[in-house]
Each structure stands twice: as structure tokens, then as C-alpha cells.
Symmetry: C2
DNA sequence: TCACCATATCAAAGCGCTTTGAAGAGGCGC
DNA sequence: GCGCCTCTTCAAAGCGCTTTGATATGGTGA
């Protein structure tokens, strides 16, 4: 059933029916009610393609996720992020369009998204420090919000980001306050911007106490359980092993824990661990006393807010780029304690 | 730049340009090359909305994910699944449309998806044993593939599923062969179909050896790390605790492991564990000798195949419902050993 | 009574593409 | 030179909606 048929059925013109359903003022209230009732009764919804063609609005937001052959891991955080985003879209009547692209043809895909008119806005995931997509998207002229930042670029685009540097600085400060002096970092992939910021945070806190960075205590890679495990094994085999480790994610922390366990070391006594906790649904680090001391920020919440930002920018295209910085909270758990003397 | 402008620029009619770009035979090869070159040069891609309206095809597949308030966890498997699916879509030129819905208005959303014409096919996630969506989608008349099955319904729809029952039966048989007699299951939520099948598999294997099910050894819930932990703590406190545990996922297995560590128990000696491993990117259970003995089946691969199935059904709507059963492999790791005597 | 205005409805154009049916351009045999 | 056929190209209609500008209707004040 299309608009024309519905109009005939109602003995009205398509114009009036369209206006009635879209809430225009120039239609009689009684007529509107009649139209709405009929639409509901016959189960009418407007054809999205026709509507998109006529209005030029897609009523959809694109999420573009780079998945290269070299780091083909799917971000475990992604599921939570889009769940949050979809809450916002649902409320606003927007759809969500997901595109996973190889790095190589990413530029082309963005251009296509625009030219084909499929989306009104874009959320950019996993930015690099000098991410080319930001210039590209600006040139393309589609509203976009970056989840994360590109540190090497001028700060004049819209983004939402957790304060990675500050969070990891605080985590390190906490360990320093407990007397630790050999503090390791098992970081995410350091071509990613967030990982660089985290590393900076750890180093800044140490430098403030006059502690020089030891490259042997800095590890990075895809944030898998295995990374945590192998990095910890290697570091603990050093002549002067770390007494504390900062972990880039809960999954990594689990690997660290496994390595320590293999060694017969107790978490929070011989070795302390602070993890970053994205508050994922399936890996909650909760309870009265969480297992891990952690810097926590909900990625789902970030998704919701990112979506709201992009919707806002679509509503008001002339507004300055929105920027949201989320502070992580530092929650104390069982995995940290005074440095062994 | 639209088709008309491109046609003018080429001194051709829109008809010819359209045909040239869409590979119709009735256009001169020289003309086609000229058109293609021009299209590339000016960066033309057809407007998706106009194309959709004209062809009636959306060139998009919808993934609908139920996210209720009661079990609001995002499936950690989802990310890998859609990564696999998007590989297939990319090749076929399809887009992916993601919808997360509350259980309540799910039916309405499916109907809308159809009426609005946004998608040509649907992938259904997380089916229940008597899932109403299957009848609904059939009535709606949109090609669909279920990831999983609805055991209580007639088996006449398209699905792709891992052989949950057989996998968990094999896992249990393995433990039985090692001499275990007290075998526990930490299962996923048993309103979900896959969880019921898994439980069946465990019970079948035990029954074949004349072992009756002990309700105290059957636990289920959202598949979190915490579930594994608490279930294990409780079971191990029983007068006659289990010597082996089958885990519904790697994340759950990590929780089980944590509980056993707390107890000072060594994995694979006092207590054996077999996990189901979805082969997720961030939780690889690999290496020469994996940590966990596991039933393994790649969920990413399932996503890719599900996508191919739905595309096939769109190509040939009259074909019988495709059904794909994936067998998990049983890989031996360090987490299983002979039952303590 | 008439002009005037606000209100409620409509006809028709247009969004950018595909596709049907028609027509122009050559090549061939007679 | 004519008719016929094949190979290319084209004009125009149509997909289902929104939106502009016009039209009918009834109420008001002069």
C-alpha cells in the first residue's frame, strides 16, 4: 500500500495525506486523525527510497570501521559502542548503516557514501594520529564525529573521546603512590591515536617523579589476552622486573593475570595491575570490590553521545564542531597494593 | 553530478549512460569505455535512493539484533559475525543495515523494514526455541536467514547454525573418556535456543554412560566472566563437587579459571575444563598447545556464510530454504586431564 | 452585496534513476 | 535504389514521495 492508494482510499489527495502524516499545520485536525488512523489500520509506512529521493535526506548514519588485513581484529568494543549509538538513533528515527572497509579503499568508500547519498552523517572509528579521513570527510562535506582524536591534526573537527592521557596518568600516579617504581605498560597498537595518548599519560606521571622510561617495560600490540600474557612473561623475566603493570584493556589484563598466575605470583601483592575498563557487558569488573583496579569509562555511553552529537550537527550544520571529552573514573579493586619492599 | 549531467557532458542520452554503466549488451563497446572513463573521471556514482526507487531493490541486508532491557548485554560474538558478513556484502555490492530493537516492538520493526523497502533480506540473530519472528518474516515475505535455530518450530526456514548439541556432546564424551563422572555445565541463557541444544548435548553424552543429570551441576545465565566465576564457586562448594566443567564460551571459561585459581586448583589436573571457542579475534585460544581444550567454530566464518546464503536466496527467491550446519572441531589444550582418582 | 482573508485541499512538478518501446544509422542482397 | 535486418541510441514513462503554487470554501467587515 502506497501513499497514492491510501489517499484514494481516504478520498483525499496524496498531498493532504502526506502533510497529515508529517505533521504539517495546514491540515484540519479531524482530517489528520482520520488519516493517521487509516495509516495505522492498513499498516502504511512511506517507502524509504521515495522519501529519501524526494527529501534528499537519508535518515541514516554511517559507521565506518576499518578492518585491514594487517590488523584484522574486530574491536571488541565496537558492539557496545553501536548499541549505545542505536539507542539515540532509535529515538530520532534514524537508521544505522554499517560499512567495514579495507584501509586501502577507505577513501573511495567515504566518497561513495556521500555520492550515493546513503547517509546524512558519519561516525569515524579508530582514528590514527594523522588520520587522512578527517580532511577527506571535511572535503566531502558530510557531518562527522570521530570516536577518538587525531593528535597530529589541528583540533577543529568534531570528536568524542575518553581522556586517555589523563586516565593512564592517574592509573600510574596511583601505582607510584603505592610505592611502585618499576611500572610497565601493556598498550594497544601504537599506530592508533588512543594508544599513543595512553602511553604519554604513563610516561608523564613517571617523569613527574623523576622516573625515566624503560623501553623494556613498554609493550604494545593488538589488545588480546595473549598479548597480556606474553608481554608479562617477557617483562617478568627481566633482571629488574616490573612490580606493577598498566593494562590497556580488561582482556589484556586477563592475560597478564594468567602470566602472573603461572609464575605463582599473587595479584595485588607481589605485582599490582591497573586495567582500563570499557565497561563492556560481558566483561564487567564490578561487585563491591572489583577484581581489577581500573580506569573506567562506558563505551556504550560514548556511543550514545557520539550519535547524539552527529544528529545535532545534522540538525544545525552551521554550528561549530562539537567536542566531548569523557573522564574515566579510577575505581579501586583487588589488583593493586603497596609495592613489595 | 548526476546521471543527466553526465549524459549531457558525454553528449549521450541518460538511457545509454545508464546501460553502459550497468553492463547491458546493447551498447557499443567503445561508447561503454568512454562512459566508464568519464564516470570515473568526474567521480560519478548513482544516487542510491533513485536507484532503489527505480529498481525496487535496496541492495542492502538488514541485521536485526534484539537488545532487551532484561538481557541488555551485547553479544560479544556479534562483532565477529558482522565482520564476516560484511566481507560477503562487500564483494556483492550490498550494504549492511543494522537495527537494534527492544523485544517489544521487534515485530513492528520488521514490518517497517519491509514496508519501507530498506532491505532485500534479513539476518535474524539470537533465536528463541519458539521464535515468533520466523513466522512473522515468512508472512512478511522477505528472504531471511537465521543465525541459529528454533528447535520447537518446523524446520522449514533458512538457517546457519553450529552443531551445538554434537559439539557439547563431544566435549562431554572427551571428559567422560578421561574418567570424569561429575561433569558440570556453565551454560548460556537457556531461553536461547543454542543454550538448550548445548545442554542437551551434555546430558545425552552423560546418559549414554548411565549418568543421571544433577541439577546442581547445571548453571546458566548471561555469558559473562562473572557467571563462570560464581557458578564455579558455588559448585565447588558442593559436598560432591564437579571434577570437570563444560563452559559455554571462552569468556565464561576465564571466570571458571579465576574461581579455580582462587581455590588453588590447577586447570587440567584437579579440575578439567572444556570451553566453546567462537574463535574471536581478541580472545584467541591458539598456540601449539592452547590453554583451553575447546570445541571451536569460527563465528566470523558463520557470518560470511550466512551473508552468502541470504544473497543466494535473493538471487533465487524460489529456491528451497538453505540450511547450513557447521561442525565444531574439538581441539585439545592444557585444561583437560584424567580425572583425579 | 462585495471584496477580503484565513483555512483546507488539491494538481502538478520534481527528486535521479531504470526500462520499455521506438527510431535512426549502416550494411546487405536483390 | 529499395526493403530488410542488425546494431546503437534515444525519448518518455514510471518508481513513491514531498513541496510549490493554485484553487475551493466559508467566515468576516465594510
Amino acid at each position: 500500500m502506497n501513499l497514492k492508494q491510501l489517499a484514494e482510499h481516504l478520498q483525499l489527495s496524496p498531498t493532504t495525506v502526506s502533510r497529515a502524516l508529517n505533521g504539517y499545520p495546514e491540515v484540519n485536525e479531524a482530517t489528520r486523525l482520520r488519516v493517521e488512523a487509516a495509516a495505522r489500520a492498513v499498516g502504511y509506512s512511506p517507502n524509504a527510497w521515495a522519501k529519501g529521493l524526494a527529501t534528499g535526506r537519508a535518515m541514516a548514519i554511517g559507521h565506518v570501521m576499518p578492518v585491514s588485513k594487517s590488523h584484522e581484529m574486530v574491536n571488541p568494543v565496537f558492539g557496545d559502542f553501536i548499541t549505545g549509538a542505536s539507542e539515540a538513533y532509535l529515538r530520532a528515527g534514524y537508521d544505522m548503516q554499517l560499512t567495514l572497509v579495507d584501509d586501502e579503499d577507505e577513501a573511495m568508500r567515504y566518497r561513495n557514501l556521500r555520492r550515493r547519498g546513503l547517509v546524512d552523517g558519519i561516525i569515524v572509528h579508530a582514528p590514527l594520529p594523522a588520520d587522512e579521513r578527517i580532511a577527506l570527510l571535511r572535503e566531502i562535506g558530510l557531518p562527522f564525529v570521530v570516536h577518538g582524536r587525531a593528535s597530529e591534526l589541528p583540533d577543529d573537527y568534531a570528536w568524542i573521546d575518553m581522556n586517555n592521557r589523563r586516565a593512564f596518568e592517574r592509573a600510574t600516579e596511583h601505582l607510584l603512590a603505592l610505592g611502585h617504581r618499576r611500572i610497565a605498560l601493556v598498550n594497544g597498537p601504537e599506530r592508533q591515536d588512543f594508544a599513543l595518548r595512553r602511553r604519554e599519560g604513563v610516561l608523564t606521571a613517571q617523569a613527574a617523579q623523576g622516573i625515566a622510561a624503560d623501553p623494556a617495560l613498554l609493550s604494545s600490540g593488538e589488545m588480546t589476552e595473549r598479548l597480556g600474557y606474553t608481554a608479562t612473561r617477557e617483562m617478568r623475566a627481566l633482571p629488574d622486573p616490573p612490580t606493577a603493570i598498566v593494562a590497556a584493556s580488561m582482556v589484556v589484563a586477563l592475560g597478564i593475570w594468567r602470566a602472573l598466575r603461572d609464575e605463582g605470583v599473587t595479584l595485588g601483592r607481589e605485582v599490582s595491575v591497573v586495567a582500563h575498563d570499557d565497561d563492556l557487558g560481558y566483561l564487567r569488573n564490578g561487585g563491591d570490590v572489583p577484581v581489577f583496579t581500573a580506569t573506567r569509562a562506558s563505551v556504550r555511553d560514548a556511543g550514545r553521545r557520539a550519535a547524539e552529537m552527529v544528529l545535532q550537527m545534522i540538525r544545525d550544520p552551521s554550528c561549530a564542531p562539537l567536542q566531548t571529552l569523557i573522564e574515566a573514573e579510577l575505581i579501586l579493586g583487588q589488583s593493586t597494593g603497596r609495592a613489595p619492599s
